[in-house]
Amino acid sequence: MTKTCAAARVIEHSLIAGDVWKMVVVVPEIAATTRPGQFVHIRLTDTLDPLLRRPFSIADCNAAQGTLTLIYRVVGRGTALMTKLKPGDTLSCMGPLGNGFDLAARRPLLVGGGMGLAPLLFLARAFCSCPATVLMGGRNDRELFWPELYAGVCQNFHITSDDGSIGHRGFTVDLLPELLERDKFDIVYACGPHAMLKGVAAITAEYDVPCQVSLEDYMACGVGACLSCTCASTSGKRHKVCTDGPVFPAGEVVW
């Protein structure tokens, strides 16, 4: 679990949908100890612009091969530059960072929205013996690539889309009560937009199912040193998303 800063070599990199890319890098020092829910903090270029590292969830990890998979959407300058990386190129990678999910579950339900489905993919794979059910939501069928990515990992999907172009029309949370009533899940893991997480937290509280949420925040250091990512918790204690999280019990988050 020691964190390191190492050179990661790109071995695979491709556009998998509209503006979403999948990148596989070799970085054995980090892959050796990575757990689902953790993230890496990467430096893209040597120039001073952009300057800061960028945090990305680990969407898959193969310790034997020393590889990590990242799935990312192009949103700004850093991710735009990232798309230019070719197999053979290296980037600087700090990791594994953050706490990761608590894996003590027998009947897990994974609820993901948008890029929040990236860390859940690695989590789903961790539950191969007790396959996870996944509730996934997105804006429209152009986000259809997620079911494909999850296909090899688990069988039980429930899909929603804002415009109804794929799966149920509506938000992820709309379907959640039904699922919680139908099945006896012993834990819900959620990652996605803040509003979604807030909804999931409320519903799981109502149904009294434990819930872990993975949060995002703007990060400079990624290791608990700069305090750019702290948030209040229901216990009154201040939390750092980068080290105390990014995964928190839903009940500890002040929404």
């Binding site: 020691t2 964190k3 390191t4 800063c5 430096r43 001073l48 612009d49 952009p50 300057l51 800061l52 590292r53 600087s92 700090m94 703007y218 990060m219 400079a220 250091c221 990624g222 290791v223 608990g224 040193a225 700069c226 305090l227 750019s228 990512c229 702290t230 209040a232 201040r238 080290t243």
Partner: protein, 307 residues
């Protein structure tokens, strides 16, 4: 002491450091956060996060924003308070040999004095008075822009402590030399600069400030030219040692500050980019000395020739 050490060893106001490269307050936590990445004992000194009497939760909303070759922050001095620092953090830091300097902030000159008093005999190597934080409403930057108030803070602290007192200046002033002379006259043992430049960014989609506190402190390579200029101006004007910082990413950057007159330097924002930067900068300085047949980093201090 081997030759490697002697080339870089410095003594600032009585604080003995293995290298002239420190970490800047607020950018290296309490040091422990980086212990997986770098041997803390190879760092000149660790200046810990700005500490106040009572715990502070800092500013709400977004706290950092990247800017061209820099970043802005409005952390707002979030910290657990001096008592928790003394009780919980300092004992862990005591396991290392690295000097620990506590960066302190108060709302009144007396609060600075009180902080200094509490930190006496706790194993810390020195105090850095943050009279220049742009991210808190009261105190902070007000002390940093008025020579009289700045002097008063220093006097209150000197009354209460036997520790070396470093005063950290704000660059957001018309005349940095005036500020430096005022704190020197009041008894400062060393002067560190620069703190962040006051900046702002606006989100053109939401028409709101990007940062939760509207304005924030600009740091990183973008500010380096301003920092080098101020270190140069101050080092020529005062007799106490100057600790230079602002945008240092490499040994070359650090050498600019030293030639400008800094006796030691601190790396800030660079830690976020390269967690080993404090050690790598020191190594780079050593190589520079070796290549030029110089015996000690002291031979470079203030040697810029503007003639």
């Amino acid at each position: 002491m081997n030759t490697t050490e002697s080339k870089l060893t410095v003594n600032i106001a009585g604080i003995k450091m293995k290298t002239p490269v420190m970490t800047a307050s607020g950018t290296f936590g309490f040091g422990l956060e980086y212990s997986d990445f770098v041997d803390l004992n190879q760092i000149g000194a660790i200046v810990v996060k700005g500490t106040t009497l009572a715990p502070k939760i800092g500013n709400s909303g977004r706290r950092i924003a990247e800017t061209p070759a820099g970043m802005m922050n409005c952390i707002g001095l979030e910290n657990p308070g001096v008592d928790e620092f003394i009780a919980k953090t300092m004992p862990k830091l005591a396991a290392y040999q690295v000097p620990v300097i506590v960066n302190i902030s108060g709302n009144t000159a007396e609060e600075y004095g009180e902080l200094a008093a509490r930190l006496e005999e706790t194993g810390v190597a020195g105090l850095e008075l943050n009279i220049s934080c742009p991210n808190v409403k009261q105190g902070g930057i007000a002390f940093g822009t008025c020579p009289e108030s700045a002097g008063e803070v220093v006097r209150q602290v000197k009354k209460k402590t036997s520790l070396p007192v470093i005063v950290k200046l704000s660059p957001n002033v018309t005349d940095i030399v005036l500020m430096a002379k005022a704190v020197e006259a009041a008894g400062a043992d060393a002067i560190s600069l620069i703190n962040t430049l006051l900046g702002m960014a606006i989100d053109i989609n939401t028409w709101r400030p990007v940062l939760g506190n509207t304005v924030g402190g600009l740091s990183g390579p973008a500010v380096k030219p301003v920092a080098v200029r101020m270190v140069w101006q101050v080092a020529r004007a005062v007799n106490v040692p100057v600790i230079g910082m602002g945008g240092i990413m490499t040994a070359e950057d650090a050498l600019e500050f030293i030639l400008a007159g800094a006796s030691t330097v601190a790396v800030g924002t660079a830690n976020f980019v390269n967690p080993r930067v404090a050690v790598e900068v020191a190594e780079g300085i050593e190589n520079y000395l070796t290549e030029r047949g110089l015996q000690h980093v002291g031979e470079l201090i203030g040697k810029v020739n503007c003639g």
